[in-house]
């Protein structure tokens, strides 16, 4: 098996694997928000940035190659990820104190993981529409980080309900329906797209605050621990299915 050096540790990888896949297959965490083992990589959040042979690369899209020296845990890389996370916070309207996703939110957990204590950048306070027209699913665009996981999941559902429109600061999450409203789309509450959002942008209605504090996903475990426990097995399963 070919190997790469990951933070000084030799790890094996299968040809065709990206750096994040190689690391996760060895239960080594690389921070990420837009990557998910069940979907093709998107490479947009840049949280998985690592140094490969001295160059910054996105681990979710960069293929692992024999002899690579990958640095993920340096202070320089942590600082880079911290700034990216702070940008995500200020670009949207993320009000953790009243958000129903608090304690279960990957963006919030990432902030804690990276030692974020302030936003650093000035808030944009964008004006974005909330869409509560669907009987069972709420779309709160204030919290969207444009990771496109809902877009990819909806594609996998065979529906294409979601898409990103516009560019740069004008990017927005749009819905494929005659009115542009979620209530007029063919999204079903059981679709994967209704449950994949890493933040609180797409939530199932009337399920808020049911999990007591202390029992929420990130109350007792870091995002790294949760990711290795929950996503690494999904990745291994995918490769096992490939081999079969």
């Amino acid at each position: 098996m070919p190997t790469i050096s990951f933070d000084g540790q030799e790890i094996t990888f299968e040809p065709g694997q990206t750096i994040i896949e190689a690391a996760m297959a060895s239960d080594l965490y690389i921070p990420h928000l837009c990557w998910h083992p069940d979907f093709p990589p998107h490479g947009s959040c840049k949280l998985c940035s690592v140094k490969v042979n001295g160059r910054i690369c996105s681990a979710c899209t960069f293929p692992a190659a024999e002899g690579q020296e990958v640095v993920s845990s340096s202070e320089e890389v942590r600082q880079l990820r911290l700034r990216l996370t702070q940008m995500l916070f200020v670009e949207g309207n993320h009000f953790c104190p009243s958000c129903e996703k608090s304690g279960q939110c990957e963006l919030q957990a990432m902030g804690y993981y990276l030692g974020m204590t302030d936003n650093h950048y000035p808030h944009f306070f964008p004006v974005r529409d909330i869409d509560a027209s669907h009987p069972h699913v709420l779309l709160d665009r204030d919290r969207c980080i444009f990771c496109e996981l809902c877009v990819r999941a909806s594609r996998a559902d065979g529906k294409n309900v979601f898409e990103l429109a516009g560019r740069g600061i004008h990017t927005r999450l749009v819905v494929d329906s005659p009115s542009g409203k979620l209530g007029d789309s063919n999204l079903d509450v059981n679709d994967r797209a209704a449950h994949i959002c890493p933040v609180g942008a797409i939530v199932v209605k009337e399920t808020a605050f049911r999990i007591p504090i202390g029992q929420r996903k990130y109350d007792r475990r870091t995002i790294a621990e949760v990711s290795v426990a929950e996503e690494a097995p999904l990745l291994r399963k995918r490769y096992e299915q490939k081999e079969d």
Partner: protein, 501 residues
Amino acid sequence: MTEQKYRHLETAEHPETLRRVAIDPVTRVEGHGKVTLLLDEDNRVCQARLHIVEFRGFEKFIQGRPYWEVPVLVQRLCGICPVSHLLAGAKAIDRIVGVDEIPPSAEKLRRLLHYGQVLQSHALHFFHLASPDLLFGFDSEAEKRNILELLRTDRFCDIALEGIKLRKFGQEVIRAVIGKRIHGVGPLPGGMNKHLSAEDRACLEPQIDEVIRWSQNGLALIRNIYLANADYHRRFAVIRSHFMALVTNRGSHELYDGKLRVKGDDGRILYDQLNDQTYTDHIHEQVKTWSYMKFPYLAALGPEEGWYRVGPLARINTCDFIDSPLAEKARQEFLQLDRGLPVQASLAYHWARMIEILHCAEKIRELLADADLYGGELEAKGEKRHEGVGIIEAPRGVLIHHYCIDEDGLVTKANLIVSTTHNNTAMNESIRQVADEYLDGQVLTEPLLNRIEIAIRAYDPCLSCATHAIGKMPLQVELVDAAGATRQCLIRHADGQVVFQ
């Protein structure tokens, strides 16, 4: 008759000719407020006002949010009694999801939470904020009037420490029910999200007898202080008002649920068992240009006659009995102060507050032994409505939350009448009484000005909670340079006109 005896001190005829003295900020209260006095050349007080200088706007920015988010969002109004807003919001949302009665387990959990909250809030107010005035004296040095100095003083350190531990216990009760001491999560539309754990019971139960003893010590302390100089305390900041509070259908003292009762200054019950869902028929609000806080009054009596007081004093004055034995005994003794008539002395608020601490401790003991806290249904369902009102007795008095939602479940309207707001006219009357009785014609000194603050503190106001007159009072933004000089001033008037000065 409850006419505002000191109303003539609200607005001076020629303020431009008068000297202005400001107490800014008012200290040892929650939030930011100031008092302004206008004096003539003979130091006669011509105007006295309590101003609330903060601006919040929760009623506005909650619009467009989903209804299930409301209780958790609005509890951020306050860091002292967030549980009050959490529960009032939750009760309103219960109504919106069509639940008029939540299951017994859920209600008892909410009650436990609320008793913990009232206990800690009262302890914080009395021991940390108010007691230094009462123990060291109104005229003591300003530097001494704080809880740390009490802890450093041999004769007060034990009781001060008990006060701190009382608050800690109340906070622990809150944490046990909603996961955090401040801004936790527990109430759901129509219920609660968990039972009390066996571990939390094992933590709280062994402490409760001691907590009751500390509560009794605190009650004895304020009783003895008050009676030691009864005539002065009875007259200080005294005003005559009606009182409003929730009572049960049997007329007993109630904090979490119940119906509104108004008792007149002469002891007659003016209104009883008013339906909380129709509060707008009974309570109207007046706006004045000089305060962000509105002035509620009884609609049937009008703003001049219909003002009233809420809070511990109102609750003790208004109820027929308290359903816990030690607190009920204390209530009966308290009511002897004015031979069975409603006690009007503003400083009697402290005594009433300590009766309620004891009541809360007794009820917590009772509830911790109740099996419903540890098992049983937690949630009820109903037919959705578009409007809901929730009223509870917050530590500082009647708290009203009112929401309307649209077809999609988003909030279209919110109205909050916060406890301190109900007391707005009364607090202004009290400071005017103090200004008139003790400051008028005097050379002002710090101890004299402290008397104004003592009158305000008696009400335990939560000024940050109470600022809701959105769009009615001019909104002023000042740009101040490093030297403290105002460089630019932007004012948005009530009519929406924006002016640069």
